[in-house]
Symmetry: C2
Subunit: 189 residues, 2 copies
């Protein structure tokens, strides 16, 4: 019997419920050229050190570059870039220079060989901190080594993949900092 | 020298950029009583099997119940519940029955001992599938065993923690399913 008030939801669509973190562009460098991919499976793992979980598998052309270089850049696009970002995610770097094709501009990073993405309002230079789940779950624990924000576009706002080709942008902000009594340190400006 | 157009962003606030996945309530059962906690560090790990990454550490009272039972329920609240959800996250289950105090109603689940949360529009019954990163990174790989949606509140919409006590609700939906040429199977209704 179903729990009161509930109907079964398809297991293979669970990610549609869980996924809506920010859509990312992942930039890599394989020693010869830079590539871009789109990613919706990511999360923060720890505040300090700043660790991020990211799913990149062998079905992604960027996988080899990430594995071999141990580096990448996570770039956060705002919703006005949604069409180009989706196109990046539906084209393979195997045969396409996605930077020039979709109008993204590589900018040299400070600590990694992969370039930042000029059009994105934030860029995080990352190294692989833990790859123990990389074989089984294609899950990479990254450490942010440097983080960059475009102050002119600071409030540009990320968007979220709903897992099915639809995306949501953010609207209302709900300020509940006064209720963060236990985690007050997180609310510091 | 900073990359052109960019200013350094504080490393300890990187999670504010990456975090905005859905805020979750995590329900556990320790053999004697059910508890609730609030979580913003989560992501999908795999479509099939439906795996979800979740950060729960020893600083959370729910940690022991998750570790010992190997089970939990992930419940997705909509933005109208934001105040209660934040209060759950700022109160410890060590000394409080958060269900009654904050107006959440436990509903027996089908496959796990932890209860669903009646007020949440979706509930996922989960078991621990991989705990290899639980000691180092407090990262649990969960497998969704059952998923439930409240059809009457299906479009209620989750909200996202910005990592500092402010939260964003979703607004505009951008439908780019027609551009999902490579991943077309994901767009099936």
């Amino acid at each position: 019997m179903d729990p009161a008030g509930f109907t079964p939801y398809p297991l293979e669509q669970v990610h549609r419920l869980i996924e809506p973190g920010p859509v990312l562009l992942v930039s890599t460098f394989d020693g010869q050229r830079a590539n871009l991919m789109t990613n919706g499976f990511n999360m923060p793992v720890s505040h300090e050190p700043p660790l991020i979980g990211l799913i990149v598998g062998p079905w992604d052309h960027s996988h080899a570059a990430l594995r071999e270089s141990g580096q990448c850049v996570l770039a956060i696009p705002s919703v006005d870039l949604a069409e180009q970002v989706v196109d990046v995610g539906n084209t393979s770097g195997r045969d396409t220079d996605k930077w020039s094709r979709f109008g993204f501009t590589p900018v040299p990073a400070a600590t990694v060989d992969a370039p930042l993405v000029a059009e994105c309002f934030a860029n995080l230079e990352c190294t692989v901190a833990d790859d123990r789940l990389a074989d089984n779950h294609h899950l990479w624990i990254l450490r942010a080594e440097r983080a960059w924000i475009d102050l002119g576009r600071r409030g540009a706002g990320e968007f979220h993949h709903r897992g099915d080709g639809t995306f949501s942008a953010n609207a209302t902000t709900v300020d509940l900092r006064h209720r963060m009594t236990k985690w007050q340190y997180l609310t510091q400006p």
